[in-house]
Subunit: 111 residues, 2 copies
């Protein structure tokens, strides 16, 4: 280890039944939906396909009795999507964990 310098990095996520439920990518998607009110716009911003975004949202929703994202089609603007209270709590919780993890990485970064 004397001859190179490395840094510690990592990822955290939330699991349900040992299955990944929410990581930093999905949280970003939720936040962008919240900000734009649109799945399509959020997907475009993150350079993923609408389908991919929709699948991710459906996957997250499937873990909850109450959905995290509610969407409507038709009407003014063509449709819209909103984040529920449940979803806002989820985003906030993940940010808390993420922030603690960031501190952990700083504490343990290479010599």
């Amino acid at each position: 280890m004397a001859d190179i310098s490395y840094t510690l990095n990592g990822r955290i996520w939330l699991e349900v039944n040992g299955e990944k439920m929410l990581g930093h990518g999905r949280v970003e998607l939720l936040e962008r939906i919240q900000a734009s009110g649109s799945i399509r716009q959020a997907a475009l911003q993150m350079k993923m396909s609408y389908k991919q975004a929709w699948d991710l949202i459906n996957h997250i929703n499937s873990y909850f009795e109450k959905p995290v994202v509610i969407s409507q089609r038709g009407g003014k603007g063509g449709g819209k999507a909103t984040i529920t209270e449940e979803g806002r709590k989820l985003i906030e919780k993940f940010h808390q964990l993420q922030s603690a993890f960031h501190a952990f990485l700083l504490e343990n970064k290479g010599e």
Copy 2:
């Protein structure tokens, strides 16, 4: 969050120049090489192809002036592979970090 219980999980790894250099899979490979003295046996144990194992080792070695794995072909047993002192230090360092990370996960696991 009231309606489901989740657990926190994650992964850590060492980076060099923003590139992943060593994670828990590669460490396990190094340990199995150390234990068996053979790249092939280590690969078989981890159910990966010899090529895959060899590529991983080469990749790790490329970050160091002194190699982490030294291998010889031919001779008794057909050939062998050994872990250098450099490699042993690397494995140990990763274990330390991994153990600290494990503690972090426990501290922050779901309510």
